[in-house]
């Protein structure tokens, strides 16, 4: 696993997402209320740019006609067929056993442990100002 530095934390405020390619893999990194998540930007269904879809909540029901809508902003809906994926795990809601979006662990690493540009994280002590968002690939 190689760790890749994405950006300084303040370049990815809550509610935003960043698209990038690492080793030809299209990835998006999200900041959901201060937590960071990474997903492969390719829907496991037919290959759409999954991460361009809206972030919605989870609709569940224990009785027909009643809907509980929770986990706002934590479900991504594919811009094509509308499949719902859990941003935390990549799990799909329609067919959890067969389909899962590829999730990448995303961490915030303190600036002291990463080197700025050429965007490969190495454990070198560098004095930097801010914290960095780092992806393990």
């Amino acid at each position: 696993m190689v760790r890749h530095v994405i950006a300084p934390v303040d370049e990815l405020p809550p509610g935003t997402r960043k698209f990038l390619t690492i080793d030809e893999r299209p990835i998006a990194v999200f900041n959901i209320k201060g937590e960071f998540f990474g997903l492969l930007n390719r829907c496991p269904h037919q290959g759409a740019s999954l991460c361009e879809g809206p972030l919605i909540g989870l609709a569940q029901s224990s009785d027909p006609g009643e809907i509980e809508y929770t986990r706002l902003g934590e479900i991504i809906r594919c811009p094509w067929h509308g499949w719902e994926f859990d941003i935390r795990t990549g799990q799909s809601y329609c067919d959890p056993k067969r389909f899962r979006a590829k999730a990448y662990p995303v961490n915030v690493e303190p600036g002291a442990s990463v080197m700025k540009g050429p965007y490969v994280a190495e454990t070198i002590a560098v004095s930097v100002e801010s914290d960095y968002v780092v992806v393990d690939l």
């Binding site: 390619t21 361009e52 094509w80």
Partner: protein, 369 residues
Amino acid sequence: MNMQFRTGAEPSSATGVKTAIADCDIHPARATATELYPYLAKRWHEHLETYGKHAYQGMMEGPPYPKAQPNASRRDAYPPEGGPQGSSLSFMQQQHLDPNNVALGVLNPLNTGQGLRNQDLSAALATAINDWQIDKWTSQDSRLKGSVVVANEDGPAAAAEIRKRAGDKNFVQVLLLSRNVEPLGQRRYWPIYEAAEEVGLPVGVHAFGFGGNPITASGWPSYYIEEMVGHSQCQQTALASIVLEGVFERHPKLKMIMIEAGFGWAPSLSWRLDKSWQRLRSEVPDVKRPPSEYIRDHIFWTTQPMEDPERRDHLFELIDWIGWDKLLFATDYPHWDYDEPSRVLPAGVSDANREAFYLGNARKLYGLS
């Protein structure tokens, strides 16, 4: 290691299709409400602005059921210059036609004058849409071919529009929708079939339309999914009507295409029709052969939304029963239930069948080999 950033979301393009394909169901849209005005007499501008469009359904604008995605289209298909999905030729080329190697794209315009109660308006909008298809699309990109949109409830007017476009290479078929005031085999629609056969155009029957009938034979359902799945049942009934009213007996050269209603139902409908006809054929003496034979000889199906069983051997059996020479590949771009060409046909298909499925059948049917 190689990392590039994008400043924002870029239009997603396909993984790239290596061999050329036909897309037999593309939906071009108007960018603005007045884009058709140059093709419409001025009286219709005023009419539309004063009275609007009255369809055989309750809503003047908008659909009877809320859609799964905006404009029932992919969220990533908005042209960068603005306008709804499907309204920009250059963006359609960039996002779909070029990367997907579309060698033949058949345009099926929707939200036109079909399904309207004012038949003069319906006819005016039909001819306008046909002129618009030439101007904006088929004359600008030779891969694209249009469909002759007609006033579906006015047989003579529809026949006149078809004859007007006879021999025009911009068009490869006549377009009807599956839901009309009556089932499509009824005699009010016969002038359409007569004219189409005469000018040598097949008739495409696309899912949807408004005819004032609830989308089930037991009234109006509650949910969008019922409408979406219901297109399959509407198409089955429309096709049964066409066969049982003897349309193909009277028009032996006519071909028809069932568009966007699936094809999985074709075998079971054929078997049911045959079984009923064996007992009840004295009621319909004009149907001289088993219905399944008319279906076999005259009907094609576009593939989208592609049947998606868990086991691909089931899909292959289904297609064997219909015929690999009967399917016409389609994506339904830019709608949300779009079928990605590189993903929908599982591995295990012979090269010959694959070529027929993706391109050969369409080229042959539309006379574009």
